[in-house]
Each structure stands twice: as structure tokens, then as C-alpha cells.
Symmetry: C2
Subunit: 776 residues, 2 copies
């Protein structure tokens, strides 16, 4: 694999940004090029101007060639007009950001093959000057994340321009190696800025400005030659070169040491530390879009390798790593509020998020939003809400500890004790002190594709009751719940649910206070795709069961039977293709829990939404009747603001048809005229043809795909969490192809790949190809 890496031991590469246009980037570049050559006479010095417009800019690399003749100069894209590249590009062919990046990377690779050396990449204009595609330079070059030399603005007003330019780079995750300045006696920007950047630990180099132009071209050249000679020999320039060079070395040393230091210091989540070593720890330098930049010490090809984040960073990632809009949203809220105490107070981001979430959930039952910090705490809140509401209504004469929940086998709701207690005993929790599974968990029929067919398969022990496998012509038909309600399967499900509950409650004397389930796909349990009809009927059967007397004169939004909790932490917010998976189930929960994608993949935050009738159960004359739960950072403005932005972005993408091509793909070839509109919402970013092919592999037992989730269950005798069947495939993906590695996580013998909501089609198709190559 030829990896596109922006960091190699043999190549010191720096990016020259200007705090403004006409601040002397090229003059500084000339000095730096000459000085590097002086410092390392046997090494190459390259100067790269990726995009140049008009004779003025063209002069940049000619200027370098003239005054630092030993520097190897190159321009990748030349536009004729001397205007902003985005205007120049209009009259030329369209040039995309990724084309520019690919060419730059190819050049960096070529330079780094030629032995040790230094490369300066000079940008055009200021940090946010438009690129040919109309984006900003700071965004265009961000995936490379080269260390920056910022040429400050020495003119009047230049202090402000220089600091703002720094901030624009900083909030995009760039590191500034040094600030280059021309001294100006009148404005003294350099003295102010030197102190300013020193406080931030950033060095600066101040040099006298070039002398006035000579009377003739020839004399001018001589004057400039002298100037460059003098400058490049200055002690402080030499020191600056040494420091730049040292930073390159230190960056590599730091990357090299990180996994060892992490192994010494970090106690990892869900990790048997006996199984890990510095060699197995992935060092992530940075990330952008769907890709980590991971350090690979042994690779000759490069030291930073782009690696597809195939677990969507533990299922959180939605809008791309290093998304500048989310950074700005976070920083805006941090700047406007920091955190502000939320008990009895309101701030705009918390209010906007609650209103927006309730609006798009579009569930008439849900009226109130309770904030907490993550899915696990949000589920504890949900359980506290439901149990209190049940007790309040039914006034059971049993100890409060002994009431349980109804759930599904293989469910998982988080790692705090209360959330664990709502899950069936399993490897995750059986060794945990204080854990006690409280409830009953139904086994359930599963949806999967096997050898090209979508099927619903009852669990082994229930095939006598439910029958064998049922085949469907399309995934959509499985979601056509209204059509399936009257089917024989529907009747069997209802009967089974009723009889089981009756046995548990009336024969075994158990008490239950809530129905808790992850709608459609049970994630951590192994990407178990539940038959939506079964989940639909579980809720409706409990809600109408004579086991639970309904309150008289209740509004249609009042909960009946037991409060229904949807744990949408993993499955919500477009992870499965719809804003809420409750739409796919055609079932309105009384309580729903939202986290992970809520902040687009940036910071922890959770919303537990609840109905008025749940809320009312906590009204009382005493404070202790209230829901006495709260975290210090409840509804922290940073998280809320980022969530407001994330929801708006994702809803906007849906409205703009961002996923229409995938929806079309999944509609094609189905007998869909007969299914309802809501059923057609079952689609995936993973292509239908690819999923079909995977299902025919001899190594594959079954496959599922929905929304951005793809899960491949491999043939393996030793099923369950301790299985290692998928690790072979996982290793093959990590070898990568098409210039990037693919980092995925496995759950027993299930290997899953999770895209973000903004994954590019090319990357997805490339991963599909790699997967098929590995499977066949």
C-alpha cells in the first residue's frame, strides 16, 4: 500500500501561512530556504507553491529560484489571472480540494524519497483566502496538518490580523512552530506579538524588513541578494532553523514515545492489560473527516498513515473529525458562557436543544427533556423515571429493590451500576460487584441476510413456537409493520408475549416497572437486528395488557401498561438512517434516551426525553418527591450548542437529499409498490449489491446493513464475546489498500464497520472492495 503521509522522518516540511496578503511570505520563505541550505548543505531544500495565480504570484517561486538557487521550486496549479484563486478557477477548469491535497501529498512523498531534506509549502494570501473550490486554505490543507510558520503582519493593524490568523489556525488543530516577523519601528507589532506568542509557548523570529527597491532591476537584485545573504547568516536565523529542525525531531520522538508512556500511565476501558503492550496501542496524531492520522513506527512508507475510523470512534462520530463548524460551535458556547449552573436556570443552547430534539422526535408523548452526561447516566435517569411512575400508579407492596424491567436478551445500556442492572447477566457484568440483573429479558427473532436473502429467524428454542425462518423479498418488507401485524407471525408474537408476562407476574409473582429496549439493533450485544414487528408488539402488548389496569380518563399520551423506554443512544439520530429508530418501529416511547451522535462526535452529553404523564409522577409537596438526580455539568452549554449545530446539520443533510443515492440503491429491484412509506426508510450507505455479495462468502454466516451500520457475522463455532473469529479479518483491513488503513472493532465473531453521516462514497466503495477482497 502506498500511504499518503504528510510526516516522514526524512522530510522536515513546514507550511508558510500569512497573517494577511502582502506580509512578505515569499521573502521570509527565501530566507528560511537559504538558511536551511546553509545549516544542512548536503541536504535538499524544496519550495512548493501549490496554487499560484497570475504573474504576481508566479513571481513567488521564481523569486525563490533566483535568490535561493539551490532550492528546488515547484508550482502544482497555475492560474493566469492575478486575482483570488476562486475567481481565477471560475475561468479555468474546476479544481477540487482533494485534487490539490493529493498532488501535494504526492510531491511530499517524492521529496521524502530523495534523502533527508526540508520543504516549505507556501500558501496564497491569508489563512482563509479562498481556494479554487471556494473553500478556505486553512481547511484545504488541514488534513496534512503540517507545522506552521506564520508570517505576521507588520503593518498598521497587523497585531490584530496576526492574532486572528493564529486563532483561525489554532481552532483547526494546527500547531504553530514559529512566528516570522518583519520589524517595524513605528508600529512595533513585533515586540507586542513576540511577547504575546511567548506566553503561548510559541517562539518568534523578528528580522529587519528588506531595503527599499533599487533604481534599476539589476541594482534591485543586487540589493536583495545582499539582504538575503546577510539575513540567512544571522545568528538568530540560525537558531530559528535549529529550533524548527529540532521540533521536527521532537514531534517524531514524541509520537514514538507516546504508546510506551500510555502503557505506563493509562488504565484503558474494557481492556485486559495483559493483552496489550506499547506495540498494540494506536497513537493518533490527529484526525480529519473519517480518518485518523496514526503513527506507524515500523513502516518504511510513512510515519503517519491515514486510517479509516471504522468504529465511528465508538459509535459517536457523525460529522467528521476536526469539523470546523463543530469546533466553532463549541468555542462560541465556551466563550459566551463557559459552564453555567443549570438548577433553576436556563440558557439558550439548552433551551434550543430541548426544543429542537422534541420537535424532530415528532412523538406527541415526549414533552420534557432531562440532561445528563452520557448514555449510561441518561439510562439511569430513564429507569428512575419509569420505576417511580409505575410505583406511583400501581402502589405495589414490594420492596423497591425488587421491581425489575422487561427487556431483550443481549441488551446493553451502559456501565454504571444502575444501567447494568437493567441488562441481563453477561460477560460484561457478571464479575462486577454490586451488579444485580433486575428483570426479565425476552429472546427474540432476528433479521439477517443469509446467502442473498433477507430472513427473520426465531431463536433456536422458539422455532417450535414461532416456526422456522421466514424469507422476505426486501429489507423494506420486514419494516412494513402495518402489513405484518395481522400475519401469523404477528399473532404468534403477541400470544407469546402475553403468556410469558402472565406467567412471570401471576405465577412467579414478579413485579416489573418498565419496558426497556434498544430499538431495531442491539449494539454492544453483538449488533443483533431484532425483528421490528416483535419489538413493536412487545410495546403494544404491554400497553394494552389486562395485567396492568389502565388509569381512567387518560389522554392518549398518558403511558399505559408500563412506561416504554427506548434506549436510542446508539441507534438514534440517523445512525440507522432515520432521525429516530422509533419511526422504523412505528412505536412511540414514553421515555427516550439520546447521546453519542447527539453532539456529532465531539463531547459527552445526553438527553432523556419523557412524557408529561411520567413527569407528573414526580410532582409532590416535598422536594424529595422530585427526581433527585443531577450532575455538575448538567446541560453544559458547550455540549448543548454543539448538539444544536449537529442536529441542524444532519436534518439539513437529509432535507438536501445527501443520502438519496443510497436510498435509491436500496429501493431498486424491490417490490416496493406494496409496502408503506415508512418501510421504505430502511436503507444503508453500504451498497445493496455489496451486502448481497458479502452474504455469499463461505466465511460469512450472515450480514446486516442499516443506515451507516454494517455488521458481518463470521462462521465460528465459539460464538459470544470471547470469540476471536473476526480478528483475522480485522487484521487484513488494518493492512489497508487504496492508500489508507481501515481500523475496525469486533464484538466476538461479529465484525462491524460504521460510517459517519458524512462519509464519502469513494471511501465507502473502497472499503467495500477491500472487504470483498478479504472475504473471497
Amino acid at each position: 500500500m502506498a500511504s499518503k503521509t504528510s510526516l516522514r522522518r526524512t522530510l522536515r516540511a513546514y507550511q508558510i501561512y500569512g497573517a494577511n496578503t502582502n506580509v512578505g511570505k515569499t521573502i521570509m520563505s527565501t530566507i528560511i530556504c537559504k538558511a536551511f541550505k546553509r545549516q544542512f548543505p548536503s541536504q535538499n531544500v524544496w519550495y512548493l507553491k501549490p496554487i499560484s495565480t497570475g504573474p504576481l504570484d508566479e513571481a513567488d517561486y521564481r523569486h525563490i529560484a533566483r535568490f535561493s538557487p539551490e532550492t528546488k521550486t515547484k508550482c502544482l496549479f497555475q492560474f493566469d489571472e492575478a486575482v483570488s484563486p476562486h475567481i481565477a478557477a471560475r475561468s479555468s477548469k474546476y479544481l477540487s480540494d482533494s485534487e490539490v491535497r493529493d498532488e501535494v501529498l504526492a510531491h511530499l512523498m517524492a521529496c521524502s524519497e530523495a534523502g533527508e531534506g526540508t520543504l516549505l509549502l507556501e500558501t496564497a494570501g491569508g489563512v482563509h483566502s479562498p481556494t479554487p473550490s471556494g473553500s478556505s486554505q486553512a481547511d484545504l490543507y488541514r488534513p496534512l496538518r503540517l507545522p506552521i510558520c506564520l508570517v505576521a503582519d507588520h503593518h498598521l493593524g497587523g497585531i490584530s490580523a496576526s492574532i486572528s490568523a493564529f486563532e483561525s489556525l489554532h481552532i483547526r488543530g494546527y500547531d504553530l512552530d514559529t512566528v516570522l516577523q518583519f520589524e517595524d519601528g513605528k508600529y512595533q507589532n513585533h515586540t507586542y506579538l513576540q511577547e504575546y506568542f511567548e506566553q503561548k509557548g510559541i517562539s518568534s523570529l523578528s528580522l529587519p524588513p528588506p531595503p527599499p527597491r533599487g533604481p534599476t532591476e539589476e541594482e534591485d537584485q543586487e540589493i536583495m541578494s545582499d539582504y538575503y545573504e546577510k539575513m540567512s547568516k544571522l545568528d538568530k536565523v540560525e537558531e530559528a532553523i535549529f529550533s524548527l529542525s529540532e521540533k521536527h525531531t521532537k514531534r517524531l520522538e514524541n509520537l514514538e514515545s507516546m504508546s510506551t508512556r500510555a502503557n505506563d500511565t493509562i488504565w484503558y476501558p474494557f481492556t485486559q492489560h495483559r493483552d496489550i503492550s506499547p506495540q498494540s496501542i494506536v497513537t493518533i496524531d490527529s484526525a480529519s473527516g473519517d480518518f485518523f492520522q496514526t503513527y506507524t513506527p515500523t513502516s518504511k512508507a510513512g510515519t503517519l498513515i491515514p486510517t479509516f475510523d471504522g468504529s465511528a470512534s465508538w459509535w459517536t462520530q457523525g460529522l467528521g473529525h476536526g469539523n470546523p463548524e463543530l469546533s466553532l460551535a463549541a468555542a462560541y458556547a465556551a466563550g459566551r458562557y463557559g459552564h453555567v449552573m443549570f438548577a433553576g436556570a436556563i440558557h439558550e443552547p439548552a433551551l434550543q436543544l430541548a426544543e429542537s430534539l422534541l420537535h424532530y422526535l415528532n412523538n406527541p408523548r415526549l414533552q420534557k427533556v432531562f440532561y445528563s452526561d452520557n448514555g449510561s447516566t441518561g439510562m439511569e435517569v430513564a429507569v428512575k423515571m419509569a420505576l417511580t411512575a409505575s410505583f406511583e400508579r400501581y402502589k405495589w407492596d414490594v420492596p423497591k429493590e425488587e421491581v425489575g424491567v422487561i427487556g431483550l436478551k443481549g441488551s446493553y445500556h451502559g456501565d454504571t451500576i444502575g444501567a447494568m442492572d437493567a441488562s441481563e447477566p453477561s460477560t460484561f457484568n457478571e464479575r462486577v460487584h454490586w451488579y444485580k440483573g433486575r428483570g426479565y429479558w425476552f429472546d427474540f427473532p432476528q433479521v439477517k441476510m443469509v446467502r442473498g436473502k433477507w430472513i427473520v429467524e426465531p431463536p433456536e428454542g422458539m422455532k417450535a413456537e414461532f416456526g422456522e425462518v421466514t424469507e422476505f423479498a426486501s429489507l423494506a418488507e420486514i419494516f412494513d409493520i402495518q402489513a405484518r401485524l395481522g400475519s401469523s407471525a404477528g399473532r404468534k408474537y403477541s400470544k407469546h408475549i402475553e403468556e410469558t408476562l402472565n406467567g412471570l407476574i401471576n405465577k412467579e409473582g414478579k413485579t416489573f416497572g418498565a419496558l426497556v429496549m434498544e430499538p431495531v439493533i442491539l449494539g454492544a450485544g453483538g449488533m443483533l437486528f431484532a425483528d421490528p414487528l416483535f419489538q413493536h408488539l412487545l410495546a403494544s402488548t404491554i400497553r394494552t395488557s389486562p395485567l396492568f389496569p389502565s388509569p381512567p380518563h387518560a389522554s392518549p399520551e398518558t403511558w399505559t401498561g408500563l412506561p416504554v423506554i427506548h434506549d436510542e443512544v446508539f441507534t438514534g439520530l440517523y445512525r440507522l438512517g432515520t432521525f429516530t429508530p422509533s419511526t422504523l418501529l412505528q412505536s412511540h416511547p414514553d421515555i427516550s434516551v439520546h447521546a453519542k451522535l447527539l453532539t456529532g462526535g465531539l463531547v459527552p452529553l445526553c438527553c432523556t426525553a419523557a412524557s408529561q404523564s411520567i413527569f407528573d409522577a414526580f410532582l409532590g409537596n416535598e422536594k424529595r418527591d422530585a427526581l433527585l438526580h443531577g450532575h455538575s455539568y448538567t446541560a453544559h452549554p458547550v455540549g448543548c450548542q454543539v448538539a444544536v449545530k449537529s442536529i441542524a446539520k444532519m436534518v439539513g443533510m437529509e432535507n438536501e437529499g445527501a443520502w438519496d443515492h443510497a436510498k435509491e440503491d436500496w429501493k431498486s429491484g424491490s417490490r416496493l409498490a406494496s409496502v408503506s412509506d415508512q418501510a421504505v426508510q430502511a436503507w444503508s450507505v453500504w451498497s445493496k449489491g455489496f451486502v448481497g455479495k458479502v452474504s455469499f462468502s463461505r466465511e460469512v454466516e450472515s450480514v446486516i446493513a442499516l443506515g451507516s451500520v454494517l455488521a458481518i457475522k463470521l462462521q465460528d463455532e465459539n460464538s459470544g464475546y470471547s470469540s476471536t473469529a473476526a480478528t483475522g479479518l480485522q487484521k487484513k483491513l488494518l493492512e489497508g489498500s487504496d492508500g489508507f488503513k481501515i481500523h475496525v472493532r469486533v464484538l466476538g465473531h461479529v465484525l462491524y464497520v460504521m460510517a459517519s453521516q458524512t462519509s464519502r462514497t469513494e471511501a465507502l466503495r473502497s472499503i467495500e472492495k477491500t472487504l470483498l477482497d478479504a472475504l473471497y
Copy 2:
């Protein structure tokens, strides 16, 4: 109280920032002033140039006066030299940012008293141009948070300058009302920027630039007069004025509606909703430093009132709301990574934070850091760690559920079920389903000041055993643990602890797996100040008790007895004046938990630090032997980066002597020569004299002060959480004085005020005065 408000119904105030120097701020201001006058002929239009330097800038308000003669112009501070204000100020008297803000606020107040009108505040230079004090304008004016009209840069390079200027304002929490632009045919910045800002929902107004200067001064004036007349009558200018005016109204309407909408939508933590109404909900527009800007609908004096955040936003706040350094740190990590999956991976902020925390904790036992999302989850992790380690060593033959913790009465460790289970039954948890207090909680002697004397008072039931109250000459003496170890109190404490444990374990047959305590002050339990000697002896007695056989050949860092957990979530990271309260106790925990101040008051994050011998208990051949706990956003880079910055800032403040004046205050008048160095670390930002005075009030039972915490226990018969004794005092503080309100929270009959680590002395003295006025 004369509140300093920046928002009043009667005054539309806008701040004009320039994307650079010389972009035409004054020309735009003139047009806007004239157009406002045209739109609202009967109303006032003010123009304020707070700081003006030299004849060039001086011209600004003269220019307005000349071409918009009906505008009332004012300059507050005039410097003679035509250079940057910070240079000008060097040759003049020093001018602080707060002086400037106070004068601006006074002027805003005066204008708003004169009936309806509009005010434009024009800044000098660009957004980050230095102020006379050397800070940046964007920071200087931030506490006012006036809506912004940004004058874009229409020159070559101006796109970049304009976007960067916007970003610098945005990350400080400013709202942009509009972008004002001069059209330039060549560079077409305005077309690009109009689209750019439109996508962000920000309107813009593009106008033709002023004509070239006339040949004579007189002709030039005429040309400009014509230009202004024409411009101020343009339809699009009229629309822009209408839109600006409407935004002012909408901002007020929004603030007015927020508490009602919150009451409809939000389910508040720890809140009996029957007790709240829209009227009781505090609407927080924004915050800076220690102050919220709260909306007060009924106040004639102003609609936004500065309100001291006296609960330090639920004990989280350390470095000031809207701290730009923390915003930048958050945005940097968001830009560099977003969130990246942490299982088996490492990124720089997580590694730096773990290393930095372990370094400054300076506890040879602590070697590993486990990340989670808040204090409650971090405590669950700590308990899981300790119980597994105990079981692993002692191999008790009891059900895993039945092992308990040793703790202190009144303790609180968070609201998830596992954290609750570690606390004694109380009002907080007794109604919670699934809660079960698992352990034994010691009552303990408390430290307090009563009528001018620092005392240690045993609990009522233990006075027979421990004796009556002991008086100390100073708070420091109470912390002189080495000196007190051999005292009669020390011997009695040890004996009591040993006998109690023996009874619980050998007679009652109980099993305990950990000692869990909040060092020094038990916060949520009512700011209970435990005798540090008792806490010290509790740990050392358990560690050396023959009840727990020690492992052979253990290193000094190996835990003995039971693992000792310090819940430092509230008391750590300088809240009590030292980096860790363990220093005050002279006791090294085996596990310690850190949150709240960890991120300086910005986002949730928690670190659970543990010793190698605790960590080793989870090493095994199977994955399920590991600590199977983890949250999706484990070690999220935004939180880690902000925490790295916060710790560096706070340690830096200590090293620079930021709190030396307070330390001196608490040293004075004590017989401190005789106490150890560590005991002298007992000091408070609340002045010693003030604390003494409070203790003499007839309304006060006792008072404590340590670090940034002040807690006043009021005389009240009905003690406990349901008491309402302190609400009277709370209400008086909310009326405020000295131009600001004071928002505090109460715990039963304890009223506490918590400063941040950066609270200004003047504010603290002012609050002390208000408190004394209310108490006497």
C-alpha cells in the same frame, strides 16, 4: 442598587468592529447613524468612541459630528500619539480594562435614561488591536457582549481577514448582527463574504465605497455629504436598519420568553417542579469572569443584571466564565481530533493530562489514570476498582452484592446507582428504586468557627467518648496532624475506629471492601468540615488493622487493610487551597477521583487515579478479568485539552503567588511558629477578619472557610436538607449591592458562597460587606 447593564429596552446599542484597520469603520458608522436618525427621527442617536489615539482617530468622532450632525458623539479616553493605544498608554497614565468598561457602562446607562435611542460604539483598529492595558479589544469589551456590526475588509486579502476577525469574535461568544461591506469590483470580496455569512445565518450589507477625495477640503466635504445623503437613503440601508432594530427587539423577546419555554420543556435536576414557575427560573444571557448576565424582566434599572455566580456553577468554576484560553483549548482539540475512540489508542491531550495529574498529585501510590465522564461515574469506577482488589486478595466467601464500604455520615458521591450505594441512606436517595446503602458510615467530629473560636466538636452521641468541644488558636493548628497524633483526641479516635470495625466485622459478620471519603469537607451533605485528624486516623487505622492481614513482601505503595478512596471531585484541584486535599490530611489514597475543577469549569470529565497494586488486581488471562467499564467519549480530547490548560493555569497561579495575600492574611496573628509547614496551607480567599465577624452574628450557629469555600450554618431548629432557614439570607443577597446581584445556593440551613480560583479581591470584599450587612 444601580446595576451596570449593557442591555436596556430603550437603547439599541451596537458595537462596530473592523476586520482590520482602515476598512472604513467610521464611514460605515456615519451611514448607520444617519440612517437610524432617518428611521427614528424623534429618537436619539449616539456615537461613542471609547478610546481614541492621535489626530487620525480623533477625526473619527469629529467626522461623525460633521456628516451626521444630529448624532451625539463622545470619546471617553483620548491619547495624543497616533499609534496603537497600548503604545500611547505607555506615555500616559495606565488605564485598566475595568476603568474603560465602567465608563462605557455609565455612558450606556445615561443614554438609555434619555428615552428610546440607538448607540454605536466604535472600537479602534481591528478586533484584537491592543487596548491601553495591553489586552485585546475583543476581550476588553466582551463582558458587555453588545451585538456586533463587523466592517469587512474590502482590500486584497480581505476575505481572509474578515473571516478570521469573525472567528475571533465568535469564539468569545459575541453575536454578529450584520456584516457591513464596501463593494470592490476587482476583488469581489463582498460577493464571497455575503454568501459565506449567509450560510451562517448572518446578514450583510454591501455599499459602494466613498468617491475619491475632492481637490479641495471644501469640495471633498461636499462630495462626502452627497455620498452620505445617498447612502443613508438607500432601500437596502433602510432594510438593514430595520433588521438591526428588529434584532434588538427579538433579543429582548427571546430573553423574556425563555423562562416560560424552559418551564414547558426542561425537566430540572434536583428540582420539585411544583415549586418552580417561569418567574423563579433564572435566564442567563451569558457569563464572564465570576458573573452571569441574568435577565430581570421586572427591573426598571436594566434588563441584564450582572450576578455573582456564588455557587461557582455547582462547584465547577475555576478560571472564570468565558475564559478565552479555555475556549481556544477546547476548539484546538475539537479541530485537531474531534473525539477519537480511546480503547487501545492514545492521543496527546489524554496522555498529557494523565501525566500532569499524576505529577502534581505527588502521591507515590498513584500510577494509573482511568477516564470517565463525571464525578459520579468516576466514583463508580473507583468502587469497582477497590472491591475487585479486596475480593482478589481476601477471597471472601460472601455474595458479591453484600460487601460494603466504610464511609462517613453525610457523604455524597454522585447520583448514579453505584455511587449512591456508597452513601448512607438519606433524603437524596431513600426514594430511589434500586438504591441500597451498602456499608457503614462513621459519625465524626467537625471543625467550625463559633463566636470567634475555631473548635473541633464531636457529634452529640459521642461526647461521652470523645469529650466536649476542643478550642484551637487557629485553623492551622487543627491541621497540624503530626503534632495532634499523640494527643488524647488522637488516641480516642483510633480506639473508637478499631472497636467499631471489630464489632462490625467480628460480631455482626459484615464485610467491607473499601474506605471511601471526601477529604476535609463533605460538600453535598451540608459542607461538613471533618476533623482532619479523624480522617487521617480512619485511613491509617484501617491500613494497619489486624482485621486485615497484610500481604507479605509488599512494596510501600501496595494497599493494605482496605483500598482508600478519596472522592476529591469537589474538594480537589485548589478548591480547598491546595492542589489536592490529601496534602491537608497528610494521607495518600490508593485511589482518587477528580472532576469539576478539572476542566476549570467548562465540560464534564473525570479522572480516577489508582495505584499499581489496585491495577494489578485486574490482570488476568481472560478479558472478563479486566475492568469492564467505559463510556463512548472516554478521554474526549476537548475535555482533556481543557484540563491540561486548566491545571497548568492553576499551578501557574500558585507558583506566581496569586493567592499569597490571602495566605498572609490567614497566617497573621497565629502562633504559627509551632505548627508544621503543611498545616499553614489552611487558608481561604475569604478574609480572616470577615469570617470572625460572621461567627458573632446572632443568626449564625457556626461558619467555616477554606480555600474558595465559605459556608455559614444558620441558627435553625429544623436542620437537614428540607430546612428553609437560609433562604431569607439567600434572597437578601440576590437583591445585591455595589452594582451586582449575588446568586448563591443553600443546603438546608447552610448557605455557602464559593469563589472561583480567579475571583477578584474587590468582588470578594464587596460580597463580604453585603453578607455582613445582611447578618447584622
